[in-house]
Structures are given as C-alpha cells and as structure tokens.
C-alpha cells in the first residue's frame, strides 16, 4: 500500500486528480482518487498533451460557434469525459464524491446573471458535474441559487478566510432552501490555493522590504487553510475544504488525516508516493504562534487571515485574485477560444 492508498483508506482524507489527461486519471483512480479537477487551463493542457485522443470529439463540435461558445464546447467535451470516469463513485457515495468540475468563463465572473446562466448550462452536462466559480462578491447569489437547486458547487480563486466564510454562508442559505423544498443538498467544495497565496505574499513582502524569512511565508497558505477548516467544524458547516495548487509534499503531509479533499497534480502524487512519508496524521498540530506573529508583519497576510478583513467587494480587487483570474484567462480560456480557430484579436492586449 503506498502513502496515497493509506491516506485515502485509513484516514478521513480524500483526494481528487488534478488534470484531464486520460491515462493520468486512470492511474489516480488506482491510488484512490474520488474526483477530478477540470478547468480551462487543464482542458487546454490535455488537448495539447494528447491531441489525437480528443480530435474525433473536437471534430463533432459545430464550426459556426462564437469564440466563447467554442471554448465552452471544449470544456464540456473534457469535463463530461472525466465525469464519466467517476460516475460509479458518485452513485456509490450518494453524490458526496465522484465529481468533475465545470469552471466559469473568468471574464464574466463579475456578472451574477451571466454566471448563473452559464452555471446552469454546466450543471445540465451530467449529474456529477460541480459548478466551479471564483470566490468574488458576484458569485454569492450563484452559490446560493445552485445549492438551493441541489447542484454541487466548487468555489475557487480563494485565498482568504473572509472569502471562504462568505461562500460557505451563501451555501448554507441555499442548502436550507433545498431542504425546505425536499431537494437533497449536494456538497460545497471550498478550494484553498495556499501555494499561490504564499507566492503573492513573498512578492509583496520583498517589494516592501519586510524583514521576514521566505521559509516563514511558506506557512501562510496552510495557516489560512487550517483556520477555515476549524471554523467550518466549530460552526457545523458541512462544506469540504479542498487544498489545491500544492507546491510540495509538505503541503499534503502537514494536513494528513483532515476531513479534506485534496486536489493533487500527477507530479505531486508521484513525489508523495516516492517520498513515502511517515504514516502519521498531522492535522491537529497547530502552526506555532511565533510563526503567525511573524506573518502579521505582512499586511496582505492579515487581510487573508482575519475573518472579515476583506470586505465582499474587495474579493475581486485583492491582488492575488486579479493575478489568478488573469492567468486563467490567458493560459486557459483564451487558448480554448482560439483552439484550432484563427484568433480574431477581439481582446485588448
């Protein structure tokens, strides 16, 4: 039994596979994966990695679609394929696990109406599609509405306690409506992109010449993640924390045993299996007070860590939100819009 098989069978920790490459998905299922992260960037990557595999399906996409419709058709093709692989797990777990994700167009995610329309289209692709949305103010009505209809939601582009708690509260409102209407509530997966937060804090701390060790900054994302996890437990919020974008094995082992669902790239799965860490649960170990005190030297850490420090209208303007949305747009959505199509240059550079 390798470390991942131990983790998923002997502890409460679960993991999803973080790529849409077919052979990698099959290998991850062998190691205990119970879902799959798909998004525009990963969709484009699988098209580049195994173009011949996808081409017959690409050929069936109508030729007269707009750029945005073309991108959405490619997302649907890959997400429904990936969802098919997890159908059995979805049914066996009564809809608690076994999802693939449908992520919204990053350029419309400040428009609640457009987001809801796209989210409902995605949810119609398959029962085990979870709609993935950035954690910004305009997503709050979407999270509530989809949850009330018994649709699983995944909130991403999330770096702060404030964002996670606001999304969870919207989920609880939707969940209550679903129950009142006799609809079975579906899960909420709250992504924590701790590695990206660490990188952003390192950049801003260097820019401001703050006297702090880069090794201390590497604890920032985990500190936010553990705090959200504990708040969910304290407040009986049945949402699942999903750490993603891990930068090393330590991001996983330091939270081993948690009732979380990790999103793990093939590279991290391989590194973990090869490192074969000691099989010990570390989730109950607290980050030392001294580390948190050091991190408080960075103003952006305080905004990420303190509940309520970021107001809902600041979720969008938070620097790392903009950085991440821009990356999703330019390395995911725009390449999909242009995939096997002549670029129209409709977007401003």
């Amino acid at each position: 039994m390798n470390y991942l098989q131990w983790l998923t069978s002997e502890t409460k920790t679960k993991f999803w596979h973080d790529s849409a490459i077919p052979s990698e998905i099959d290998a991850a299922i062998e190691n205990g994966a119970t879902g799959v992260t798909t998004n525009p960037v990963l969709t484009y990557k699988t098209l580049q990695a195994v173009p011949d595999f996808w081409q017959p399906m690409v050929d069936r996409i109508p030729k007269d679609l707009t750029q945005a419709e073309h991108a959405e058709a490619l997302l649907k093709m890959v997400a429904t394929y990936a969802a098919g692989k997890f159908r059995g797990i979805f049914e066996a777990s009564n809809g608690q696990q076994g999802y693939a994700l449908g992520q919204l167009d990053p350029s419309i995610c400040m428009d609640s109406e457009k987001m809801l329309a796209q989210g409902l289209r995605y949810a119609s692709w398959a029962d085990n599609i979870s709609v993935k949305t950035p954690s910004i103010m305009s997503a709050l009505p979407l999270v509530e509405e989809l949850s009330s209809r018994g649709i699983a939601v995944c909130t991403t582009v999330n770096f702060s306690v404030s964002q996670a708690m606001a999304m969870a509260e919207a989920y609880m409102r939707g969940r209550a409506k679903a129950k009142a209407a006799g609809i079975q509530p579906k899960p909420l997966f709250v992504v924590q992109q701790g590695g990206r937060l660490d990188e952003y804090l390192l950049e801003t701390a260097t820019d401001s010449k703050i006297d702090i060790s880069p090794d201390v900054i590497k604890n920032a994302g985990n500190a936010v993640c553990k705090k959200v996890y504990n708040l969910f437990k304290e407040r009986n919020i049945p949402a699942t924390v999903m750490p993603a974008g891990l930068r090393g094995v330590h991001h996983l082992t330091s939270m081993a045993g948690a009732e979380m669902t990790f999103s793990l790239q093939a590279r991290i799965q391989q590194m973990t299996i090869e490192a074969d860490p000691e099989r010990v649960c570390h989730i109950d170990e607290e980050i030392p007070d001294g580390t948190i005190k050091e991190l408080y030297k960075i103003p952006e850490f305080v905004r990420a860590y303190e509940e309520g420090a970021l107001k809902p209208e600041e979720f969008l303007t938070f620097g790392v939100t903009q950085k991440t949305l821009s990356q999703f747009l330019w390395t995911g959505w725009v390449p999909l819009e242009n995939y096997q199509k002549a670029p129209t240059g409709a977007r401003w550079f």
Binding site: S138, T204, T206, D207, T317, Q322, K323, L325, L329, W348
Partner: protein
C-alpha cells in the same frame, strides 16, 4: 496606414507620439506620420514574433541554444535593437530627447529592485536609444531612480494611478539631479498611465459592486487620473514626459491634445484618429465634476485618481497591476520563451 492628418498635427503641437507595436513592417510609415519612438512590452514582442516568424528568425540566431529567461532576453535584444536602428536618426537629431525604443525588464521580477537594476543596465547597453521600461511597484520606483542616476533613459510602466505617475516622475527627477551633480548627461524620462486598462478594471469592479455609474463616466476615469497627474507634475517642475498608453478609443488621445505628453498609440487608435475631423486642444478642459462625483462612489477610482490615493507599498497590490503583470508573464514573456527558433 496612410498619411494621417491628425497625427501630423499632433506632432506639430507640443505633443509627441510613439508607435505601440513591435511590428517591424509598420515602422517607416509611423515615422512618416511623425512617430518619435516605439513602446514595446513582452506581449507586443510576442505578437510580432508569432505574426511574422519567418521575418524574425534570421535575426534571432544568437538565441539558439538558450533556454528560459536568458532565451527571452536575447530574443528581446535582437528584436529591440533592430527596431532601434530605425529611430536612431531621430534620437540624434533631438539630442536624446526623443527617438527611443522601449525594452521592458522581466515582469516576473517586479518586486525585486536589484534584479531590475541589473537587467535595466543590460537592456540600456543594447543601443544608445533604448528606454528601459520598469513596472511602477515600490521596488520598481527604487530601480528607476538608480537607473536614472546613471544617465539611463527610463519609462515607468504598469501604472494606472495618479500616485504612480507622480512617484515615477519624482524618482526620475531625483535620479536626473544626482546624475547632473556627478557631472554626467542625464537620460530622458517618461511616466506612463495605462488609461484604458484603468477603465477596463474599474468597469469590472463597478459591475461586481452593482454600481450604477454609467459607461460614459467609466471611459473618463483614466483620462481624469492622467490629467490630475499631469498638473501635479507640472506644479512640481518634474522633467518627465507623461505617456498615456493602453488607449481604447480616439477619445483617450483627443482629450489630452495640446499637452506635451508622449502618446503611445496602437494600430487601432491610429486608425481611429485618422477619422478625426480636426485637431482641437482639450488638455485644459476638466472631466466634468458630476462625472468625477459619480466615479468617486467606486473606491478603486478614488485610489487611482487622488495624488497619494495609493501609497507606494500598495502599487504592487493594486488589482490592475496584478492583472496586467500576470498577462505580461503568461501571454507575453512565457510565450517568447516557447518561441520556436
């Protein structure tokens, strides 16, 4: 592009214009229409490479065998120095006041002063008429002053706010004065405000806030910020030329006509300006007070508009800065690294 009467008038006024592209084939026509410089960035170089790979490949032999950041930097050197030759006569005729081609430091290093200073020195050595472009973060502001003090021409970029424009110009002024005090000839100085990118960012923020500020006001935001910065720089006697960039329509240029700014104009804006019936000076007209009052209901506008609305340590965290630098890295720099030689 054919003869463009508006551009000719613009270059006969106190203003200057620079062509906002790395498309080599358009340079001669731009010079005929009065262009006195070129503003490139990682995205514009990427676009030019991928649009005309066969044209550029013969110039890029020295990048063969390089990988990663070193490869991107060498490609930038080859492209930029070739374009710089075209503008060398203007540089010499104006004794270094105009005739520059921009070269931008690695956008991944935006928080690292020393890395940007070292790279800036390398870029400046490519040709006498290279203007070194540095993002306006706190680290970048320190790098700008250091490079200006060495007599290097600097352009502060990735700038969306009046505070950034004024900080850039102040750092350049300190550097220029240190350079003169050391008995050396200083370079020129340019301070960018990406007017259209500020409008784009505020439009998204306003939508998310469910603000009712109309589109007609949103498209005045960048113009209002640069007019505010222009007056502040004049009052303080800074030598830097302001550089409005990232325009989305002719309105962004015409509102500033009559100023002594160096306008950075992309192909779409050049085309739009060719249809302007007359050249009319508007620089002394304010954006209407009622529009400013409505825009002020968006907190991000206040941060962008007020001098001092954004402290230096917040430059790097400003949403539009992170959005733009991420685009420069992902859609520009990294694709230059991937370019097949």
């Amino acid at each position: 592009m054919v003869t463009n009467e508006y551009l000719k008038k613009l270059s006969e006024s106190r203003g200057y214009w620079w062509t906002d592209t790395a498309d080599y084939a358009t340079m001669d026509q731009a010079i005929e229409n009065g262009a006195t410089g070129v503003t490139t960035n990682p995205i514009l170089v990427m676009k030019s490479l991928y649009a005309n790979p066969e044209f550029w490949r013969p110039y890029l032999g020295s990048a063969a065998g390089l990988t990663g950041d070193a490869k991107a930097e060498e490609i930038l050197r080859c492209v930029t120095s070739e374009i710089a030759k075209k503008f060398r006569p203007i540089f010499e005729a104006t004794e270094g006041a105009q005739g520059y081609v921009c070269a931008q430091v690695n956008p991944k290093k935006q928080g690292e002063t020393e890395a940007m200073i070292e790279m800036g020195r390398r870029l400046a050595a490519w040709a006498p008429n290279i203007a070194v472009k540095i993002p306006a973060t706190a680290a970048g502001i320190r790098a700008i002053e250091a490079l200006a003090s060495e007599g290097i021409t600097t352009v502060g970029t990735v700038s969306f706010t009046a505070s950034q424009v004024v900080s850039i110009a102040a750092a350049q002024q300190h550097g220029i004065e240190r350079c003169r005090a050391a008995g050396r000839k200083p370079g020129a100085a340019f301070s960018v405000l990406m007017v259209g990118r500020l409008d784009d960012y505020l439009r998204d923020v306003a939508k998310d806030m469910r603000s009712d500020v109309p589109e007609a006001d949103i498209i005045c935001a960048g113009t209002a910020a640069i007019k505010n910065a222009y007056r502040a720089c004049k009052r303080r006697g800074y030598e830097a030329k302001l550089m409005p960039a990232g325009m989305r329509g002719a309105y962004h240029a015409t509102a500033l006509a009559g100023s002594d700014m160096s306008f950075s104009l992309s192909a779409g804006i050049l085309d739009a300006l060719s249809r302007e019936p007359r050249f009319v000076e508007h620089i002394d007209e304010d954006v209407p007070a009622d529009a400013i009052a409505r825009l002020r209901t968006i907190p991000e506008f206040v941060r962008a508009y007020e001098i001092g609305g954004l402290p230096e340590e917040e430059f790097i965290r400003f949403g539009a800065s992170q959005r733009t630098l991420s685009q420069f890295v992902e859609a520009g720099w990294n694709r230059i690294v991937e370019f097949r030689l």
